[in-house]
């Protein structure tokens, strides 16, 4: 471990470029707009030098410094998010559908904008070219969520209520959450590595190459392993009384 303050400072400075790239990558993954992303990178840098470079001082050299900082920054992002928006985080469904879905979900459910306002903002900032109707369709594919920010009731007349105009959309979204819970329960019966593998693939929308790295296993056999794990999930669903057709429908959301 390094204890000399000058060396710690030098190490931090040598990593500033990497720190900025990691914060930007994580910001993109979570659909942060540029202002929030800039704010996060400044906040993260302050946290990294806090307490006389405590993060660097704790580094024992068990991994590369860049990988260590990547994990630390990912953990810092969790803290940053909680500090700014409470427990909010984009839904897995939104992350699977990409940056636009994450951004739309954030604007509508976290920032409580009406769909038209969110659409206008996305279009004028060049993040989307879709019409409100198309964005509305995308929104219906995401689970309905309660805002985690405290809101004043009198400031939120019913006509300003966010989300969609169709009650059916909320039903669909609730079903999506229920499905996630159902599959989540079944996942727990799998081996830990298989649980993580399926979560990374279908809830986080990660590539097989990334999953291989995350699990520390070779990439090629993962495809077959994933098929086997999904078959196991289907089996458990069948054991729970879910028909073959319903299981197929339930899993269709989680498979490519």
């Amino acid at each position: 471990m390094i204890s000399d303050r000058r060396e710690l400072e030098a190490l931090f400075l040598s990593q500033v470029g990497w720190i900025e790239r990691v914060t930007a990558a994580i910001s993109r993954r979570h659909g942060l707009p540029r202002d929030d992303a800039d704010d996060f990178v400044s906040w993260a840098k302050l946290k990294l030098i806090e307490d006389d470079y405590a993060v660097f001082r704790k580094f024992r050299g068990e991994s590369s410094i860049t990988t260590y900082l990547t994990v630390v920054i990912a953990m810092l992002h969790r803290d940053y998010r909680t500090q700014r928006w409470g427990r909010w985080r984009p839904s897995a469904a939104a992350r699977r559908r990409g940056a636009l879905a994450v951004r739309l979900e954030t604007l509508v459910y976290r920032d409580r904008l009406k769909l038209e306002q969110a659409g206008e903002l996305l279009r004028t900032s060049g993040q989307a070219e879709l019409s409100d109707r198309e964005l509305g369709k995308l929104l219906t594919e995401l689970p309905a969520r309660l805002s985690v920010r405290p809101t004043r009731v009198e400031a939120e007349p019913l006509s300003d209520s966010p989300a969609t105009d169709r009650a059916d959309d909320l039903v669909i979204a609730d079903e999506t959450e229920a499905e996630k819970k159902a599959i989540g329960g079944v996942l727990q019966r799998l081996a830990p590595e298989d649980q993580l593998m399926l979560r990374m693939r279908f809830w986080e929308g990660m590539s097989v190459a990334d999953i291989a790295r995350g699990l520390g296993v070779p990439q090629k056999p993962l495809y077959r392993r994933m098929d086997r794990a999904l078959a196991e999930v289907r089996g458990y669903l069948a054991d729970s009384g879910v028909s073959r057709e319903d299981a197929r429908e339930l899993l269709s959301e989680w498979t490519p």
């Binding site: 260590y68 979560r199 520390g216 296993v217």
Partner: protein, 292 residues
């Protein structure tokens, strides 16, 4: 930052493939548990960020075919557990502990071969063009090998090599380390006293813009020295063979170095002794390409 339930560095070691099978399984089980949901989400973010920044390089770790032999042996009831673990564990990337390549050399205490030219790139560049970050990282890896050997043998050339390493780490912002290298690597300071500084200098490789190139250049320079000494065991070592396999997939490998590597592969000893002169020349060309 709130204290994470799971240690960030352990998770980073997992990502770098530095944990043994047992540690890896234990950590993954914890990540999968519902109590660690937030940590697992942060871990997924880190994996995704690394995948994006390293060009989806998620280094596929090949598991040797010998694993099947191991499984068959287990089925037959033969207790080969320690050997199996060693065969089946995923290889460490070249950037992980590049100093291990120096340790593979048979006569480390003999230092550098007589009249060793540790900077084959200088004759090409002439010092006129600006040095790129990947080239500087590669030079750091190669020169650290030279420094390590020179210090181990009490070679008076160590001071000059240390100054060279100092100018490279200085470039990466490690000014205090550079100052120490210039001031503390002297003929009157015994190798043991310089060891912590040397270890730190090796770790500085991880802080360079291209740690994988530091690792591969460390292999290439070590291999060059092994070729000069006809050290066949170096090339037979598993880590050495894997370094070449992994280098082929390095996204940061310059085109000229990739071409030299391709030429080199045909010269590497497959069984018996190779054409040592040809091998040394090819390795010198590789080190030159990496550092240019």
């Amino acid at each position: 930052m709130t204290e994470p339930a799971l240690d960030a560095e352990r998770l980073a070691a997992l990502l770098d493939g530095k944990l043994d099978q047992h540690e890896r399984a234990e950590l993954l089980a914890r990540l999968a548990s519902s109590e660690e949901e937030e940590a697992s989400e942060a871990y997924f973010d880190a994996v995704a960020a690394l995948g994006e920044l390293e060009g989806g390089s998620a280094a596929p770790r090949r598991w040797p075919a010998k694993q099947w032999l191991a499984i068959a042996a287990t089925l037959a009831g033969i207790a080969l557990a320690p050997l199996l673990w060693r065969l089946a564990r995923p290889p460490a990337p070249a950037s992980a502990d590049p100093r291990r390549f120096v340790a593979l050399l048979a006569a480390r205490a003999d230092g550098l071969p007589a009249g060793w030219e540790g900077r084959p790139w200088s004759s090409v560049r002439g010092g006129a063009e600006p040095l790129s970050d990947p080239a500087a990282s590669a030079r750091l890896g190669a020169r650290l090998v030279d420094l390590d050997l020179a210090i181990a043998a009490g070679d008076s050339a160590a001071g000059g090599i240390a100054a060279d390493v100092a100018s490279l780490v200085e470039r990466f912002g490690l000014t205090p380390l550079a100052g120490q290298l210039r001031g503390e690597v002297r003929p009157d300071v015994p190798p043991r006293a310089v060891e912590p500084l040397l270890a730190y200098a090796w770790r500085a490789g991880a802080a360079s813009p291209a740690p994988a190139l530091v690792g591969f250049a460390a292999w290439a320079e070590s291999a060059r020295i092994a070729a000069a000494r006809h050290d066949l065991e170096f090339f037979r070592a598993r880590d050495s063979r894997l370094a070449v396999e992994q280098a082929v997939r390095l996204p940061t490998l310059p085109g000229s170095a990739a071409a030299e590597l391709q030429r080199l592969e045909s010269l590497l000893p497959a069984g018996g002794p190779p054409d040592w002169d040809g091998l040394e020349n090819a390795l010198t060309a590789l080190v030159k390409a990496l550092g240019s």
